[in-house]
Every structure is written in structure tokens, then in C-alpha cells.
Symmetry: C2
Subunit: 153 residues, 2 copies
């Protein structure tokens, strides 16, 4: 790699982007926690499962979508299972499925409007529609690479 | 608020952006952890302090820069103090200062090149210079609002 370090300009861009994303996820989670007792991770799992056929998905696939390693996924699902938000079912040779419960679905439905308002207030409404689309396009480029990158350095 | 919910397009933009930022921070932290035993939060504290005059900053100001609440900042600094990376000093009526130690500075210096390479690999090099600037400009808009927003809903 010819230039492993970052230029001043690149470093500024990274720091601004990183600080924004840290603060945004903290704020979004504060609203979720105080209104519904959910973390960002809980919300992601519930939202993904709720949209899957029969509210179920292979744990492996769920981890891929969420971008979590096996042990993080395991601990996350154990906590959510203990709270009655999901269950886990062995499915023979096809591994374990995570399944959203009625309580999980009800908790998610209660949480959605307040979460959407906060996302709108802190993110969507700050940008013009063009800025939002461009930002998401750039995020998608970075995300595609992250998902394809199976061997982090 | 006329439309508290999100349109399909807004929801897609949010989800892509949120998934990207979650995966990016996880990956960047994996590199930091495995190479230097530092979390993203550790790195942020060390980097900010290392650039402050005399390597010290009021804890209040550090929390503002990092975007953390008082209790999170407290726990973070307690852990880092236990590892000898920083110390805390009472400064009369001006509150408590966090001060980077020689060990903290050495740990940061060891971590910088690998961290910069990973940021370049996963973020900077994925984008054209124009995309990077636009992304950072948009991030700055969102960040300004987050920092000005003292009373989350």
C-alpha cells in the first residue's frame, strides 16, 4: 500500500463521519431505551425477524444481515430470549432459527412510531431528499465492500 | 409533525446508512482490539487527549467532544485509568481533568498506523475524493444538529 497513513483532509473526513455516527447511534438508542427498553441491537433483530417469512430466520443469516460475529449474535439472542422477545428453535441439519414471539412483535409495534420520529428528527429531516439519496448511495458502496470483505486485516 | 413515519425511500436510506455505520465501527474496532487491545472509545479518548495542550482536558469537555453522557464517560475513564492509559486530576473548582499517561501515548502511537490503514481500506479508499468530501459535509450537517440538540425527545 503506497500510502497507509491518512492525509489531513482524509483524517478530518473520517473523524467527522465517525463522530457523527457514534453520536447518532447513541441518540437513537437513548430514545429507544427510554420509550421501549430496547437497544439498537434489539430493535434490529426484531425488525429483521418481523419482516421475514413466519417471523423466523436462520441465526447464521440474521448475523450476516446484522453484521455481527457468532458470539455477539449468541449473547444478543440469549438476552432477548430471556426477555421473551424471541425464541430459538433447532431445525435439524439446517442449524438454529430465531423466531419473533407475540411479545416481541407487540414490543416492536409499540416502538416503531417513536423510533421513526427520532430517525426523522435527527437524520432524515436534516437533509434534502437529494442529500439523503447521495448519502445512502455512498453508504451502500461502503457497506457492499464491508460485507464482501470476509478477511479483515 | 405532519409525517412522523418514514416513507419507503427514507426507511431504505436510513437502514442502509445505519447498517453501514454499525458494521464499519465493528470492523474498525476489531482491528484496534486485535492489534492494540483498544476499543473505539479508548482510541477516541487517547487521540483527543494526545492533541490537547499538555495532553489534558476537562472531563466535561472530553465528554462533549466524544458525545457521551456523564456516566458513560465516568466508566470509560475508570477502565482506562485502571489500565494506566490515563489519569484523572481534580483541578479545584474547574472540575476534573483527564490526562494521557506516557503509557497511553505509547499505546496510541503503536496503534495509529494500523488504525489508519484500516480506515483507508474500509472507508477512504472506497470513495472518490469528491464522494468523501460530500459524505463528510453531510455528516457535519447531521453532527452539528446532534450537538446543538440538548434535549432529545
Amino acid at each position: 500500500m503506497a500510502q497507509p497513513g491518512l492525509t489531513e483532509r482524509e483524517l478530518r473526513a473520517w473523524r467527522t463521519s465517525f463522530q457523527m455516527l457514534e453520536l447518532l447511534r447513541t441518540r437513537v438508542e437513548q430514545q429507544l431505551q427510554s420509550a421501549s427498553g430496547l437497544s439498537n441491537a434489539d430493535y434490529t433483530v426484531l425488525a429483521v425477524l418481523s419482516e421475514a417469512p413466519e417471523g423466523r430466520m436462520r441465526v447464521y443469516e440474521l448475523g450476516r444481515v446484522a453484521g455481527w460475529e457468532k458470539s455477539r449474535m449468541h449473547h444478543q439472542l440469549t438476552r432477548m430470549s430471556g426477555r421473551g422477545l424471541i425464541t430459538r428453535e433447532r431445525c435439524g441439519s439446517r442449524g438454529t432459527h430465531a423466531v419473533i414471539t407475540a411479545k416481541g412483535l407487540a414490543t416492536l409495534k409499540d416502538a416503531v412510531p417513536g423510533h421513526a420520529r427520532e430517525v426523522r428528527r435527527l437524520f432524515v429531516d436534516r437533509l434534502t431528499p437529494e442529500e439523503l439519496d447521495r448519502f445512502a448511495d455512498t453508504a451502500a458502496k461502503i457497506l457492499d465492500n464491508l460485507q464482501a470483505d470476509q478477511s479483515p486485516a
